[in-house]
Amino acid sequence: MTKSVFLGTVAAATLLAGMGMAQEGSTLAQVKERGELNCGVNTGLVGFAAPDANGNWTGFDVALCRAVAAAVLGDPTKVKFVPTTGQTRFTAVSSGEVDLLARNSTWTYSRDTDLKLDFTGVNYYDGQGFMVSKDLGVTSAKELDGATICIQTGTTTELNLADYFRANQMDYTPVNIDSNAEGEQQYMAGACDAYTTDASGLAATRAAFADPENHIILPEIISKEPLGPAVRHGDNNWGDIVRWTLNALVAAEEYGVTSRNIEELVRSSTNPEVQRLLGTSDELGAMMGLDAEWAKRAILASGNYGEIFAANIGEQTPIGLARGLNAQWTQGGLLYAPPFR
């Protein structure tokens, strides 16, 4: 009798505990309660996400984290940056360790469906390339037969590389590395002939070299790599917030809203699209549980898409990437924010 009562109590307690663990609130509520956005970023890729000399994270992906934090919490500095490797990033999202992953991650079918992630747009249209030392005398990826190639494990580039060399009936030896820093070290030591990753990543890596002029990025781009922010599957409202924050930054550039003229436009703009974006007419923010000025704060955080691009990876920076595919659709690029209405 006593025993069965005891057993029953234990069983009931266990059941309750189990259910308690599985309960999850909405991500928006969690972030607001925490007062801080957990943002998964690269462990260190100059231009995209890297801590500066003072330990402050800066970069293209970091700017998106700050914009979301500004939209949701009203303060772009309330972000906790969680460095993730190619191997740990998706687990960090699905386990809830980060609310948002902005880490040069390629949007693919299986990641969107099978890995239970939701990609909320594309913030950089990229493709995989190869970097080699000039001394090697190689001018095309087709000449890399038999080469030793450094590659980050757990990335789409690993699969593209295998496909590309098979398609061209070439051999190669992969050297698997865990982070960009390790790849850089191996490449510099000559332990691999070529380093392959997204072309933007190559440019960023090369910019950090002591002798960037001695390394070339081969002309072949062997894949499509649409890089974008990802959130956990199942919380659609949170996904909407991230998606539309990115869209707001893109739209702001299209409408000519910059961090400099935004205050003036809030007061004087007569363009209804801009008014809706900046929250002076209609109540778009309330539709996803934010206030009216969410987009204004997001743009103020580090500027619109064009400003962020120019400040972190644009042609004026050491990384020196051209807008290319990442220009507005009106300029022949692929950036196209759906209408705010």
Binding site: Q87, R166, P174, G234
Partner: protein, 418 residues
């Protein structure tokens, strides 16, 4: 039972579960059992609920999908078109390779250092002490990284061997090239290739390899029989016949014959394109991992060996000397058999440690089980739970197998007490 009331009152009361010595231990065992079961049940049900809330299933189907990635070191044929399962097997074989190489080298080095530490030569003994203390007190991961870094930073790129007046040249009669990626060693060629035995699943064994294995095992057995026979003669007549040349003959002549028969010769690697081809490129990640595991584990084994030898009381060797046994015989016949009894059980743990420690391979990009199944496969398929569970089971099986094999060996060498 001196307590009268306890012996007369036989009815059972619940308080007796705690206060009566007859039931107390049973009560606590039942409680602990229930708690352990409840904890396990909680963990499992929690996992199931959380998987369901994330919309994930528990399914091993991914193992039979196309892997799509390449592996740098494969002991069986593998291409990106093979399944994740085959990739996991390739990884497991790489784990086994470094574990076996490591265990052998660590044992040899460990015994040598352990004995040397007891040396009467003061300097030699202290040097060994320094080695043991340095290696066993610095984390293994650091050793792996340091040794790997030494290889990549000090060795030249293959390019340094190019040209008419290269900066580096191959060593050992132009047979071996050291580079910052791999050590290129010659491969064996045969003028009279007997073909291969096909085991299915694209796993093949060359008949020549099988012939060599058979001949070596046969030679070993023959050597044992010769020794046994010599023992018999010694027991009967008191004189041990000379056996060393007989043993040497049965161990080497058949192999030499096979070498001649198959026309075995070395094919030296040559620099072609970006890399050395034609030979076997032993990657630096394997060598660094092997060296680090060996040096680290050997330090522990040395201590085990030293302890084992010291555990044999001095009276044993004194008694042996009194009987007129020479030092070498004393060691082989008196000290070692008794020392092994102490050495083997902790040695098993060291082998298990080495095998499990090999999973640090990912630090230098050596694609072992952790790198394939627990690394790339896990990442590309997103099956964290399945991959980790499978990996845990594999390491568990591997450890239990090593442990079982060593226990059999242990029961053979342990002191037979009658």
């Amino acid at each position: 039972m001196t307590d009268v009331s306890a012996s007369t009152d036989t009815s059972f009361r619940p308080s007796m579960l705690i206060y009566d010595r007859r039931y107390r231990s049973l009560t606590f065992q039942v409680i602990v059992f229930i708690l352990v079961m409840a904890a396990m049940w909680w963990l499992i049900s929690n996992t199931i609920t959380n998987l369901a809330s994330m919309g994930k299933t528990f399914d091993f189907g991914f193992l039979f999908q196309r892997a799509g990635y390449d592996i740098s070191q494969t002991l069986i044929p593998y291409s990106a078109d093979d399944t994740h399962f085959r990739a996991a097997v390739v990884g497991l074989l790489n784990t086994l390779l470094v574990a076996i190489l490591g265990c052998i080298a660590a044992t040899i080095l460990g015994i040598a250092v352990g004995v040397a530490r007891l040396s009467k030569n003061w300097l030699f003994g202290r040097l060994m002490t320094v080695y043991v203390e340095i290696f066993r007190n610095i984390p293994l991961l650091l050793w792996i990284l340091i040794i790997y870094a030494v290889f990549t930073e000090i060795m030249p790129a293959p390019n340094a061997y190019r040209g008419d007046d290269p900066a580096w040249s191959m060593i050992l009669f132009d047979n071996v090239a050291l580079t910052n990626r791999y050590t290129s060693i010659p491969t064996l060629g045969m003028t009279n290739d007997p073909g291969s035995l096909d085991l299915g699943a694209r796993i093949t064994f060359n008949w020549a390899t099988i012939a060599f294995v058979v001949v070596l095992i046969g030679g070993w057995i023959a050597r044992g029989m010769i020794a046994k026979n010599a023992q018999k003669v010694q027991n009967r007549t008191g004189f041990r016949p000379t056996t060393w040349w007989k043993s040497l003959l049965v161990m080497t002549v058949p192999s030499l014959f096979l070498i001649w028969f198959f026309g075995l010769h070395l094919i030296a690697p040559a620099l072609k394109g970006f890399n050395f081809t034609g030979g076997i490129n032993v990657s630096n990640s394997l060598v660094a991992l092997w060296l680090a595991l060996t040096l680290y584990t050997a330090a522990f084994i040395a201590e085990i060996v030293r302890a084992g030898i010291l555990a044999v009381s001095r009276g044993q060797s004194e008694a042996a000397f009194a009987l007129g046994l020479r030092p070498k015989r004393t060691m082989n016949l008196v000290i070692l058999p008794q020392a092994l009894r102490v050495i083997i059980p902790p040695l098993i743990s060291q082998y298990l440690n080495l095998t499990k420690n090999s999973s640090l391979a990912i630090a230098v990009g050596y694609m072992d089980l952790r790198g394939t199944l627990g690394g790339t496969t896990l990442n590309q398929t997103g099956r964290e739970l399945e991959a980790i569970v499978l990996m845990m089971l594999t390491y568990l099986m591997l450890s239990l197998l090593i442990s079982a094999a060593m226990n059999v060996f242990n029961s053979r060498v342990k002191l037979k007490e009658r």
